[in-house]
Amino acid sequence: MKDMADNLFITLVTIMTIALSILIASAGGLLFVNAGDVMNGWKKGIRIMAYITPETRESDVAGLRETLAKMSGVRDVRFISRQEGLESLKAQMKRQMSLIDNLDINPLPDAFEIFMNPEEQTFEKIETLAARVSALDSVDDVEYGQAWIGRFTQVFNLFKFIGITMGILFFMVTVFIISNTIRLALYSRRDEIQIMRLVGATDGFIQVPSYIAGLIQGAVGGMVGLIALYIGYLAISANIEKNFSSYVIHIRFLPWNVVLGIIVYSVFVGWLGCFLSLRQFLKNN
C-alpha cells in the first residue's frame, strides 16, 4: 500500500516526538531521583545536639534521655560524653591539631545527639523540636547541626515544586504536541475519512486504526525515549566514575516501577492524543 510509505513518515514523526518528550521528562525524573538520594543522605546527617549543663547530675542524665526519646518526631537519642566530643573534634580538625594538643583541660560539655524521623524532618519541625529541647532545665544549649541543610531542604522543596509544576506543564505540552501531530496526520487523510463516511463507515471503524496506531506509537515512543535515556545515563555515570572515582555520589537509574510507569504513561499519552484529535476532527469534518 502506498499510504504506508506516506504514513510511515508521519508515524516516525509521532514516535520521535513522543520519544523526545519522554526522554526530556524522564531525564528530569532521573535528576530528581538522584537529587532525592543526595538529599536523603544529607537528611540522615541532620541531628540536634543538646549540650548538657555541667551541673547536671549523672542520675539526671538518664531521665533527660527518656524525656528526649519521648518527644514527638524523635527517632533516636545518643549520649556523647565530653571525651567523645573532643575526640571527634580532633578528628575534624586536621590542620589545627596542634591547637588541641596544646589544651590543658577539655572545655567541652557532655551532650545528647538527637536523630529525627526522616519523614517528619521538615525545617519547621526541626526548629520546634530544638526550641522544646532547649527549654529543658538540664540543657544548656542546643545546636541543630548544619542549619544550612534545613535551608537546603527548603530550596530543594522549591525545586521540587518547580519540578512538579514543570512536570504537569510538560505533560500538557506532550499531549498537546502529540495530539497535534496526530491531528495533522488525520488532516492529510481528511479526504479519505470523508469518503469512508460516505460509503457507510461508522466512526468506530474509522477510529480503530488511529487508536491502534496511537497506542503503538505511544509505547514505541516511550521505549525509544527510555532507551536513549539509559544510554545517556550509562555514558554520564561512566564519565563520573572515571573522573571522580567513588567520591561523588553514585548515581542510579530510574527504578523499574517508574520505568514501567513511564511506558504506561506514554501509551496513555498516545491514546489521549488520539482521543482529543479524533473527537475534534470527526466533529468538524
Binding site: M1, K2, D3, D6, R189, D191, E192, I195, M196, R197, L198, V199, G200, A201, T202, F205
Partner: protein, 236 residues
C-alpha cells in the same frame, strides 16, 4: 415494470427545499420514486441534480420539507444510524471520490470491509465486480495513475459491489466513450433486474433520447417536468 404493478415508493420527497445562504439549490421538490424503478434526473448545469441525490443519502440535510427513504424519515434518523442508512445506497459520485492512496481494488473492497464482510468474501466480490466494469487488469493501480474513464468505472464498481437497494449515479458516463458507457448502463440494468432501484443524474442526450424510463427535469432547483413513464419522447 408495467403500469399495473402496484407502486411501492422507496424514496418520497415532500416539499423539499435546500438553501445555501440566500440561494435555493432545490425549491419545493415533491416526488415519489418506486421500488425497483429506473429514473433519470436531468437539467442544466447548477439545476440541483447532485443536490437532489445528496439529500437522499444524507450527504446534506434538507432546509425544509421531509424525505422518506425505505420507510424511514431522514430527519428522524439519529447520527449513529447514518452509516446504516448510507449502506442502503450505492453512490457514483460526479467527481468519483476515490481514495487516492488506495488501489482500485482497495477502494472497492472498502465498502465491504465497512459492512463487516469476511475477507475471502470481500476478495471474491470486489474482484468480480471490477471484472464486470472492465477494470480487471488495472485493479492494483492507484487512482492518479488511471485514466478519467477508468476511474469512473472503479467508482461504478464501488457503487454496486455492496448490492445496495438504491443506486444513485451522478453523471456515471460523463468521462466514458459510448462503448464503455453502454457497458456501464448494461451493468446497471443487470442490477435493476435483481431488484435495485436506479436513479441517474445525467446530461447525456444520447442516453436520454434512447430511454423509455421516467425523466425528472430540474431547472433552478424546481421540478419542471415529472415525465411519467409513458411520455417517452421529451422536448428539452
Amino acid at each position: 415494470m408495467s403500469e399495473l404493478t402496484k407502486k411501492h415508493p422507496i424514496v418520497r420527497m415532500f416539499h423539499v427545499y435546500k438553501r445555501y445562504g440566500a440561494k435555493n439549490a432545490l425549491a419545493d421538490v415533491s416526488l415519489d420514486i418506486d421500488f425497483n424503478e429506473w429514473v433519470f434526473v436531468t437539467g442544466p448545469s447548477g439545476a440541483g441534480k447532485s443536490t437532489l441525490l445528496k439529500l437522499m443519502y444524507r450527504g446534506e440535510t434538507v432546509s425544509e420539507g421531509q424525505i422518506l427513504v425505505d420507510g424511514s424519515n431522514l430527519i428522524r434518523v439519529p447520527q449513529g444510524q447514518v452509516p446504516m442508512l448510507r449502506r442502503k445506497f450505492g453512490v457514483i459520485f460526479q467527481d468519483f471520490k476515490l481514495i487516492q492512496t488506495k488501489t482500485a481494488y482497495e477502494n472497492v473492497a472498502l465498502v465491504l470491509e465497512v459492512a463487516g464482510l469476511k475477507p475471502q468474501l470481500v476478495r471474491k466480490k470486489a474482484q468480480n465486480v471490477l471484472r464486470q466494469a472492465g477494470m480487471e487488469d488495472k485493479m492494483n493501480q492507484y487512482p492518479p495513475s488511471l485514466s478519467g474513464g477508468e476511474q469512473q468505472r472503479v467508482a461504478v464498481a464501488r457503487a454496486i459491489v455492496g448490492d445496495p437497494k438504491i443506486i444513485l449515479a451522478d453523471e456515471p458516463t460523463g468521462s466514458l466513450d459510448s462503448r464503455s458507457a453502454a457497458i456501464i448502463m448494461d451493468l446497471l440494468k443487470g442490477y435493476q433486474s435483481r431488484g435495485a432501484t436506479i436513479i441517474i443524474a445525467t446530461h447525456d442526450k444520447e442516453i436520454l433520447s434512447r430511454t423509455n424510463q421516467r425523466i425528472i427535469y430540474l431547472e433552478n432547483g424546481r421540478v419542471m417536468d415529472h415525465g411519467m413513464r409513458t411520455d417517452v419522447e421529451r422536448n428539452e
